[in-house]
Symmetry: C2
Subunit: 418 residues, 2 copies
């Protein structure tokens, strides 16, 4: 048994996971983001410096054999900050960087709660303008659209953390009450109105009015972001929602969370601007923003919708007829593996023709290719489509190309409902 | 700073690492292997059960918050054994499975020695015949050939662990001396002859004769394997070498190690047959064999040879001329990102035309595309090749396709010496 909260990835699971990673990489690359990575094990204080000592209760941490306090990373931002701080002069700003780390949290086990997951992290560092916020939000939208999800499936709830800071300033909310104030807004959707009202005190009605009619609340930042997204044709994917404040203390500007429209799942993704974090961590003073999207909630949504399937292996199973010179047949296998880009498999040990055919049907591959004495003498190959049992002949080994074996149907197999 | 022995992957390093992973996956898939994965953190006893308690001195291990003894995986085989044992009935044998885990060992630091590396693991489970050994060795050869390495660059040293077991049986080597006997052979290349002779005692001369003239030593197993590889045209990649015994105790048949011909590096890869391991671990009684190849030694060799480079991003930098309607230009960016599969980047904030051109030159992308008022009025796009500064015009957005922007040159950029 794996440890509780940890997943094994049998081949089907691994193919599904990797297909998610592939889409993530494709879209991030398309937006000009480049990939980085760091160690899963880091010095413990890298994480406590950002999140305070309370984070330790959620960490996998220990002393290594060199008496160093170390921890499995619970998130990627501290590692990103460490990397950028060490070498920011080597790179033109803004940096557009992404990573797909596995992250770890020791949380008390709840149904379906894992202690690890993979997370696409996309960050823009060194650009203070709202153009960066627009770019980042367009990216999170396109990451989800790449899986066949549409504006009917998900919505990006846009908010402005600075709006609430300004609001608290204007109404003289004392410093020591601000964290609780923000938390009350964060929880307002899930708690009874009276409870939130009690927490917010005399400002409750004004806050409720803002939350109820977000569209009429003034935020130049959000106006600009929404306009930018409209120019890109992405306006139907976003909605102003001032209940979104992002729990963590370090956000400074536009923040957002992505939810499925059905309301069935936890947040799919979340992020925002954190202009002071790098400096506060003792690093460089660079504005920054980013989002994270996990593989677990996204995976659940994709499985429910069947809009997305991992690509089929599309391979070739070589069936060697009884009495055929096996050495020559295996030389053909070798050659096919050198010239084709698809899997080429066969029965490792000699097996009756009929059993090999059966094996080919069960293989999950797209085609079977039959090698018999006739093949070896005349160079003719019989190809069987395993989905419909239709056969074709190919007259020479030179013609056994990907194009001839797998004529493209013009559809992307990874997004068909297959 | 990262922990000692742990690597950061800045974008260039990450691209190089990922290009290795991509090749590994491509070749394993071509051989009909499917990918699996498991957690990097496992119960400690999963590893001590296989390797004994001594392994603990090399592990990152600790008690988690649930008082479980856990460890970062030092190798993948125990996880593979766990997965196969739990669900072997769900899969047709033989299994051909691979994985690319990051593995961790707390070794005393030596120059260049890391405490983590990635390792391609390929295993065949449930096939006792030597056909599986041939397939596996052909795979390790093709994995290395995929990087442009040839028989001039590396050699697979083939040996037969069972040959030595038979030899010890025939000469009555007592059970308690066998481990040391095998170790002495393993070290014979690196130690003075006298020292090895002392360890081997009266059998020394006979052993030296076998090691010196491996070709004339009888091993039907190796004959069969060599014949099988010859049928596939891979005979020049292998050499019999009975000094290869693979330190670990569990190998049972054909074993092999891969070395660079220059002798400059540690082993590139190693593996062999371990027919009794799964049963001994308390699992199912299935014959098995496999190999591991790490990213570090391979990476050093590839960097030295320059035979292999990560693929170029090949992208497009959009330059927006002064005075152009930026909203319309960004709508074009969005459209290009939807229709092209390459990176499409631009300056997030408005910037003078000249500076954008300069930025495009520094971007590392293949082409720049200029959007100006003329573009918006007439739909004509000026495309600049950033490698030779040649310009072409493309007359409509529909013609801005991958084929028109990046006509294929017929060479695989990932293996060119660029």
């Amino acid at each position: 048994m794996a440890l509780p909260g940890f997943r094994d990835f049998y081949p089907d699971d691994c193919a599904f996971r990797n297909a998610i990673f592939t889409k993530w990489r494709e879209v991030a690359h398309r937006y000009g983001f480049v990939e980085y990575d760091g160690p899963p094990l880091e010095p413990l204080d890298l994480f406590t410096k950002k999140s305070g000592d309370e984070i330790v209760t959620q960490l996998y941490h220990f002393k290594d054999k060199g008496e160093r306090d170390v921890a499995l990373r619970p998130e990627m931002t501290p590692t990103l900050a460490r990397l950028v701080t060490a070498r920011h002069k080597d790179f033109k700003k803004p940096l557009k960087w992404f990573s797909i780390p596995q992250v770890f949290r020791y949380e008390r086990q709840q149904k379906g709660r894992l202690r690890e997951h993979y997370q696409l992290n996309c960050d823009i560092i060194g650009e203070a303008g709202l153009e960066a916020d627009i770019e980042l939000i367009a990216l999170v939208i396109d990451v989800l659209r790449a899986f066949g999800l549409t504006e009917k499936d998900f919505v990006v709830r846009l908010s402005d953390r600075q709006f609430w800071t300004d609001f608290m300033n204007a109404h003289g909310v004392p410093e020591e009450q601000r964290y609780a104030f923000i938390q009350a807004i964060d929880k307002s959707e899930r708690e009874p109105r009276e409870k939130t009202a009690e927490k917010l005190g005399p400002l409750a009605e004004e806050v409720f009015a803002i939350l109820a009619d977000a569209g009429s609340t003034k935020s130049e930042r959000l106006d600009t972001v929404e306009t930018g997204l409209r120019h890109r044709g992405l306006q139907d994917y976003v909605k102003r929602d001032f209940t979104v404040v992002r729990g963590l203390a370090y956000y400074t500007g536009v923040v957002f969370e992505v939810f499925d429209r059905s309301g069935e799942f936890r947040a799919i993704a979340g992020g925002g601007r954190y202009d002071t974090l790098l400096k506060n961590l003792g690093g460089v003073d660079l504005p920054a923003l980013g989002f994270g999207i996990g593989d677990v909630v996204l995976g659940e949504i994709l499985k429910g919708k069947a809009a997305f399937k991992p690509p089929e292996p599309g391979g070739l199973f070589v069936v060697i007829a009884d009495g055929t010179d096996r050495a020559k047949a295996l030389a053909i296998v070798q050659r096919l593996r050198e010239t084709l880009t698809c899997p080429v498999d066969y029965s490792l040990t000699p097996m009756k023709f009929g059993r090999q055919l059966q094996r080919s049907e069960e293989s999950g591959y797209a085609k079977a290719i039959i090698i018999d004495q006739d093949t070896l003498q005349r160079g003719v190959y019989s190809i069987k489509d395993l989905s419909n049992r239709q056969k074709i002949e190919i007259g020479s080994i030179e013609d056994l190309t990907m194009e001839n074996l797998f004529p493209t149907s013009g559809t992307d197999p990874s997004t068909s409902s297959g």
